[in-house]
């Protein structure tokens, strides 16, 4: 029972991280119809940037007492701002000129951007090849224990921040003018431009929002796995990104709520698979679920089947 509850809790925590990353994939796909392969690298950039900013703000290592709570918020905001800017530059330089080109080309550019971020990140003048640990932003250990399940401070912070960001996104998309513009563009680009929406600006904005969510996920990841972050060219970042992408597809690609649901689902499946079946084939569970979902409900759990127009 304890193991079940602990696994459930851990699965939900990691699921929240997947969900945040998946949101970025799904928003870009919904509006630009291409898979942004550089997204996982923006996520890695978020992890490393928050480590850098925290160290720059003078936050101490593991044996020091944790600083006031607003330091964490400061690091989060700084990371989101920086990555948002990087996302803006990427979109402007690498994707915007290809707006009318076949999607495969944009995909190759995305792979190019991904390689670029990875390889710059591991240079000595950037973050370097050695792993680093996140400065101590929170007191470690368990916040409280229910029925032998450890509820850790970092996990509470992860779930809380992720939920707050998702709520903010929900508000942005469904309650603001900009949000309706985003939905309109994703529904039909040409009609949206006929209605007087500045499509280019909306696309840029969507891209930046997705990037900032990935940056926030990076910060939370650093908070949860504060021990060591591997260098940016490590294959683990791409793998994490792929899982998040799978989450977006399982939930229904292009669907914002689906991405959240998919993220939680993938997190839970991964953790229960490891805990109860075997830890041997962790990645295989995720991709097997993907194939099962695509076979039986190809549009994803919450996705709507597209109607073919001629």
């Amino acid at each position: 029972m304890t193991q079940f509850l602990q696994t459930l809790f851990d699965g939900v925590t990691v699921g929240c991280l997947y969900a945040l990353i998946a949101l970025g994939y799904t928003m870009v796909y919904g509006i630009l119809k291409f898979i942004n392969f550089a997204h996982s690298d923006v996520f890695a950039l978020g992890v490393w940037m928050s480590i850098t900013i925290a160290a720059w703000l003078g936050v101490g290592a593991a044996d020091q007492p944790a600083p006031a709570w607003y330091m964490g918020a400061l690091v989060l905001l700084g990371t989101m701002a920086f990555c948002g800017f990087v996302g803006f530059v990427i979109e402007r330089v690498a994707y915007k000129p290809l707006r009318k080109a076949p999607r495969l080309n944009v995909l190759i550019t995305a792979i190019g951007v991904s390689l670029l971020l990875q390889n710059i990140g591991q240079q000595k003048f950037a973050f370097g090849p050695y792993p680093k640990s996140m400065p101590k932003l929170l007191e470690g250990g368990a916040l409280f224990t229910i029925a032998d399940v450890q509820v850790r401070t970092s996990d509470v912070a992860v779930i809380g921040t992720a939920l707050a960001l998702m709520a903010a996104l929900q508000f942005l998309i469904y309650r603001t003018k900009l949000g309706s513009a985003m939905r309109a563009v994703s529904f039909n680009t040409r009609n949206a431009s006929l209605m007087g929406i500045n499509v280019d600006r909306v696309i840029s904005f969507t891209f930046v929002v997705g990037t900032m969510l990935a940056a926030a996920a990076g910060f939370l990841y650093g908070l949860k796995y504060e021990g060591q972050a591997k260098q940016t060219a490590d294959s683990m970042w791409v793998m994490l990104g792929l899982k998040a992408f799978v989450a977006a597809v399982v939930g229904g690609i292009g669907n914002v709520r689906g991405a959240v649901l998919g993220g939680l689902l993938i997190g839970l499946i991964e953790f229960f698979g490891v805990a109860y079946v075997s830890s041997q084939f962790r990645d295989a569970y995720v991709f097997a679920i993907l194939i099962v979902v695509l076979l039986f409900k190809p549009e994803g759990v919450l996705g709507r089947a597209t109607v073919e127009k001629v």
Partner: protein
């Protein structure tokens, strides 16, 4: 007007030419392969021939992926997964097969697969060669079956689902192969000979990779298969199947309305591509004498997609050239020689090409000139300051990739083949995809790209 049947009878070639017409591609392939093995191979250094070997395998991979990504406009992201399937099957058959049949895992081929070390076997073809070729072909067939199983359900769907499913397939293959048992080493051949074959098939080295395989892959075998792949794919392009492929790429709904069985043709293209990928996997495993599932993950698939797109979607010769260039480029960037001679040559070639076609595009020329100048400047700066350029080569590679896509989104050749670039424009046997009424010809502008063959964006 004579009846159609009679007309076709008079136009069809004489019956006795059937055999030579069927045989000549094989003969041509054999000729080129022999040329490569016995004339080109010995006259270049061992490293150059190694690069040519890898380039050949990459050509097979890129050209076969062109059939799926370029012809039918589908999007497969797990091509390396099929390479892994074929490679492991071929490696298992060759390695454990030689142990079972010859008692040792040593090389048992003839001169055509002799890599130039150890004793020259004397005979031209050895018993090991038959085993090797059959293993590669079986690897291809198994890979094609895997392609059928993966392709049939996902190709019924529209959109990017094939991409996602093939990506998942590739990763599952990798995880499963890394979970296999340790292999039985060549020096324990006696032990292995007593283990039943179905058990041996699970001893593939796991995370260590399947190592110490006999090396049969020489320039001969690689280029034999390269030529076969090229001929099959080229002929396919102008066959009735090929036209069906191209029509699916242009407009799936319209081609369905015209009576094309869309799923059937998509699956056919996919299975064919998987077959060649499997054969390439076998060649790859027996060229380096090792195959490692960790090497054949999605990154390898991306490398091949890059070749296809860079060559121009649907251009066989484009994919070929791109495969060769992208095999050399990373090696080239390890120790960059002066860039300007190459840049100048490239500039002159483009100027000539544009002069012949009377299409002047100053932006491309300026792009090449500026790019060359920047690269050369950066190189000179690094050399003068004693900075190790090799550590920046992957950054440079990424930048070149992005620049290439921005400056020439239609790829090196667009949809044309090399020989269509020069001389008078021969009547194009293939329905070129660019005559979309509102799209500019591909050579004209860089920002005004060709139509959008794969996308079904909101404008439909």
């Amino acid at each position: 007007m004579k009846p159609l049947t009679e007309q076709s009878r008079t136009m069809s070639p004489a019956a006795w030419t059937v055999l030579p017409r069927m045989a000549w591609p094989l003969l041509a392939g054999l000729g080129i392969a022999i040329l490569m093995q016995f004339a080109v191979g010995p006259s270049v250094s061992g490293f150059t021939s190694q690069i040519m070997l890898i380039a050949g395998i990459n050509i097979i991979m890129a050209v076969s992926l062109t059939v799926v990504n370029g012809f039918t406009g589908q999007f497969s992201m797990g091509h390396a997964g099929f390479m892994a399937v074929g490679g492991y099957v071929a490696a298992t058959l060759t390695y454990y097969g030689s142990i079972k049949m010859f008692g040792t895992a040593d090389f048992a081929g003839g001169t055509i697969s002799w890599t130039g070390s150890g004793e020259n076997p004397g005979s031209i073809v050895g018993k090991g060669d038959y085993l090797f070729v059959i293993s590669c072909l079986v690897g291809g067939v198994v890979s094609a079956i895997a392609g059928y199983v993966v392709g049939l359900p996902s190709l019924r769907l529209r959109g990017d689902y094939l991409a996602i499913v093939t990506l998942g397939f590739g990763e599952i293959v990798r995880v499963l192969l890394q979970g296999t048992n340790p292999q039985i080493q060549p020096w324990k051949a006696q032990e292995a000979a007593e283990v039943p074959f179905y058990k041996l098939a699970t001893m593939l080295g796991g995370p260590m990779g399947f190592n110490l395989l006999p090396t049969y892959t020489t320039l001969f075998w690689v280029y034999l298969f390269v030529v076969l792949t090229l001929i099959v794919c080229y002929r396919l392009k102008s066959s009735s199947s090929g036209r069906a492929f191209l029509s699916i790429r242009e407009d799936e709904i319209a081609s369905q309305a015209m009576g094309v069985d869309v799923t059937k043709y998509k699956v056919r293209a996919f299975v064919l591509a998987s077959f060649f990928a499997g054969v390439a996997g076998g060649l790859y495993a027996m060229s380096i004498g090792a195959i490692n599932a960790g090497d054949l993950g999605f990154q390898k698939s991306f490398d091949i997609i890059i070749m296809v797109v860079l060559g121009g979607m649907g251009s066989i010769s484009g994919a070929t050239v791109a495969a060769v260039v992208l095999t050399i480029l990373p090696e080239f960037l390890r120790d960059p020689p002066p860039v300007w001679p190459l840049g100048l040559a490239f500039l002159v070639a483009v100027v000539l090409a544009q002069a012949v076609r009377k299409h002047w595009n100053i932006r491309t020329l300026a792009g090449i000139a500026v790019g060359t100048a920047i690269l050369e400047g950066a190189r000179l700066y690094c050399v003068s300051r004693g900075i190790d350029i090799a550590s920046f080569r992957l950054i440079l590679y990424a930048l070149l990739l992005i620049a290439m896509m921005l400056l020439r989104p239609q790829g090196l050749l667009g949809v044309r083949e090399v020989w269509e670039l020069f001389g008078h424009r021969r009547p194009n046997p293939n329905p070129s995809p660019d005559p979309k009424p509102d799209a500019a010809p591909p050579s004209k502008g860089t920002s005004k790209a060709t139509g959008n063959p794969t996308s079904k964006g909101g404008a439909s």
